[in-house]
């Protein structure tokens, strides 16, 4: 894995305008309000994706990871921000260069049941786009599809079948073959193994790793499952309500998680335990992107929240080499109760009471 950046995302934002009907429109006019404010699904994300790495994007519902993935693949256009592919701004690309980018980033979807066109044969699902884009000729198509099916571990004889004749795990493999058919550089996996049984999940994860090696792929792995992420990814980015809150190498995050949200997620992670666990969850509900909390979006649920967290939104700071976190607890300003960035997870709770302890 080289340190060369294959893709950079700068200030990426995606807003959704809430649709309002006519009655609502009149109501607003009468009350003197303007248009309804847009819902910000993704609120300014900066990410560098290194060639050959597996970058995990982790978060729960409403954090914007799905929207982010769709913006990376070009399914949804961003409302603001830049995407750079191999150093060039994609907004400026036209013609062949633009086509190259369009094909270079592909996606594998979550639901094996709705991500394949139920009325197309599997061979057509895989083979359609390469022929349309001229990657293979019509004559070579059949051979190409067979070789792809073999690579993902399916019998090429099945290419005349329809998706409903396959199991969930097999359908995911077809989805992988479809993405591979366009010879991509980056594959965005949007919860690609979430709907699979554990034993099938293991097979598909192993497949991902083999393909990465064989085809020199880069993965953006979107998931809510930190167990899978801990196994497969090189770096982890944690998202909460449309923003990045932490970014670091996998081993670093699991050993020294900095942001309280990350720490909470890690505590929830189910592990095989012989005895009964004491569950100690964080309270509160996930906020709705339509109505975000002021200041730090996590402050209503954070066990370590301070007054500052309600007023000012924290930005990503480098708290350790290659480890960024957006939390006011890291501010080296002598604030009472602040624990330093390198403090082990367990010790943070000791600093809850107002002490004069500083980093």
């Amino acid at each position: 894995m080289s340190a060369e950046l294959i893709m950079q995302v700068q200030g990426l934002r995606r807003d959704y305008v809430q649709p309002s009907d006519f009655i609502d429109f009149i109501g607003r006019k009468l009350r003197g309000q303007g248009k309804p404010p847009p819902v910000q699904a993704v609120m300014g994300v900066d990410l560098d994706i290194r060639h050959g790495e597996v970058l995990a994007v982790v978060g729960e519902s409403g954090c914007g990871k799905t929207t982010l993935g769709r913006m990376l693949t070009g399914i949804i256009p961003p409302t603001a921000g830049r995407v750079l592919y191999k150093g060039r701004d994609i907004a400026g690309l036209t013609g062949a260069a633009r086509r190259e980018y369009d094909l270079a980033v592909q996606m594998i979807f979550q639901d094996p049941y709705s991500s394949l066109n139920p009325r197309m044969r599997v061979g057509d699902i895989i083979g359609e786009a390469p022929v349309v884009h001229g990657l293979v000729s019509r004559a070579e198509r059949d051979e190409y599809v067979c070789s792809l099916l073999r690579k993902v571990g399916l019998d090429p004889g099945y290419r005349e079948r329809y998706p409903h004749q396959f199991s969930g795990g097999q359908r995911q493999r077809v989805g992988v073959a479809r993405a591979l058919a366009l010879k991509p550089s980056i594959i965005v996996c949007d919860e690609a193994v979430a709907a699979l049984d554990v034993s099938i999940q293991a097979q598909v994860l192993n497949l991902f790793m083999d393909l990465r090696r064989d085809f020199d792929l880069t993965y953006v792995f979107i998931s809510h499952n930190l167990g899978v992420v801990s196994h497969i990814s090189d770096r982890v980015a944690i998202m909460y309500l449309g923003r990045l809150v932490e970014l670091a190498d996998t081993e670093e995050i699991f050993a020294r998680a900095n942001h309280p949200y990350t720490q909470a997620l890690l505590k929830e992670l189910p592990v095989l335990s012989a005895g009964k666990r004491r569950f100690d969850p964080i309270s509160g509900e996930l906020p709705s992107p339509a109505n975000p909390p002021s200041g730090c979006a996590f402050h209503p649920r954070c066990p370590l929240a301070m007054a500052k967290c309600r007023e000012e939104r924290p930005v990503l700071q480098e708290v350790a080499p290659q480890h960024w976190s957006a939390c006011h607890l890291n501010d080296v300003s002598g604030a009472a109760g602040a624990a330093g960035p390198g403090t082990p997870v367990a010790d943070r709770h000791l600093h809850n009471a107002p002490q004069t302890e500083t980093a």
Binding site: E60, G227, A264, L269, A274, F279, I282
Partner: protein, 332 residues
């Protein structure tokens, strides 16, 4: 059929199921979704029923609840619950048991909640279905269970419709409804699978607290071995309609004996499995229409041999540890 070793404890058994078979007669053949399952549960015990899709774990839960439709035939040698013989009970009696002593929570809370009715209507209806109490008393009880499942501002929640609430909140209300009539046993079918991790944690905490405080027994059906291991007293692993291993949680985690259990546990990705390929059980679940003769796991098992062409049965291998395998033994 093997019986548990503590015969004298039979009176404490809340649930005693022996030889449960639920077969579906479809156009393409007979699907033996559950083919000889035996479960025993003491009062207040938590059992984790673990399996992948097609294992029959959900259908087992439905069979006990009597929710299997007309196309399925449920047959059991013995199905005793709290002194009632569920194999002989009438539909009317079953209806009165369901919701009062025996409750179920589904994966999708909208299977419990009616989208067109307010929460208070639904909850009070559930109370009135089993007991003649005043509206005020029913409302009081509804508020009480809502507080028990940790819902803030329960009075406001009562007036809401399901679509006003988040997924996690709905599931909590579904659990509250299950608790309304103080059931002895709750069967929970993948209740947190569709929920976010932090909400899942909250629900697990509430459920654990409730079972402890109210002495309710719980069967938690899931595919997530790790999750339920932190909650359950006992665990049973199912494959293709059979229970392949059943013992206490500690014993299962520390000394699993069945090759399928080994496979399941080794396939779980974690920080410890980084860098190497995950162990994968080869192949996939066989179609329940065409199960191979003998042990259903035979085609995927690393210990399989000619003997496995004869179906094994659940036999004790040590203290309170049942395994269905000719080659059971600790992982090599």
């Amino acid at each position: 059929m093997a019986k548990q070793s503590d015969m004298n404890g039979n009176n404490d058994l809340l649930l005693d199921v022996q030889g449960l078979k639920t077969w579906f007669y479809t156009r393409d053949g007979v699907v033996k979704a559950v083919d000889g399952v035996s479960l025993q549960l003491k009062r207040g015990e938590i059992l984790g029923l673990v399996g992948e899709s097609g294992s029959g774990k959900s259908v087992t839960g439905f069979s006990i609840m009597g929710l299997v439709g007309e196309r399925g035939k449920v047959h059991a040698e013995r199905m005793m619950f709290d002194g009632y013989d569920l194999t002989k009970v009438s539909a009317e009696q079953m209806r009165s048991l369901r919701g009062s002593r025996l409750a179920m929570i589904f994966q999708d809370p909208m299977m419990t909640l009616n989208p067109t009715l307010r929460i208070d209507t639904q909850m009070m209806e559930a109370v009135h279905a089993h007991e003649k109490v005043s509206r005020r008393a029913a409302r009081e009880r509804s508020l009480e269970v809502l507080r028990m499942v940790g819902i803030p501002a329960p009075e406001a929640r009562l007036k809401a419709y399901p679509h006003h609430l988040s997924g996690g909140m709905r599931q909590r209300i579904a659990i509250a409804i299950a608790l309304l009539n103080a059931p002895k046993l709750i069967i929970a079918d993948e209740p947190t699978t569709a929920l976010d991790v932090t909400i899942q944690g909250q629900i697990l905490y509430e459920v654990q607290k409730l079972c402890r405080e109210m002495g309710t027994a719980l069967i938690w059906i899931t595919h997530d071995l790790a999750l339920v291991s932190g909650l359950a007293d006992r665990m049973a692993v199912m494959y293709a309609g059979h229970i392949v291993e059943s013992t206490s949680t500690a014993e299962l985690i520390e000394r699993p004996m069945h090759p399928y259990t080994h496979g399941l546990m080794s396939s779980i990705p974690s920080l410890g499995t980084r860098g190497q390929p995950l162990f994968q059980i080869p192949g996939s679940t066989p179609s329940l229409l065409h199960l191979p003769p003998g042990c259903a796991f035979r085609t995927r098992c690393y210990r399989a041999d000619a003997q496995c062409e004869h179906a094994p049965s659940l036999l004790p291998v040590g203290d309170d540890h049942l395994v269905s395998c000719w080659h059971s033994g600790e992982k090599s």
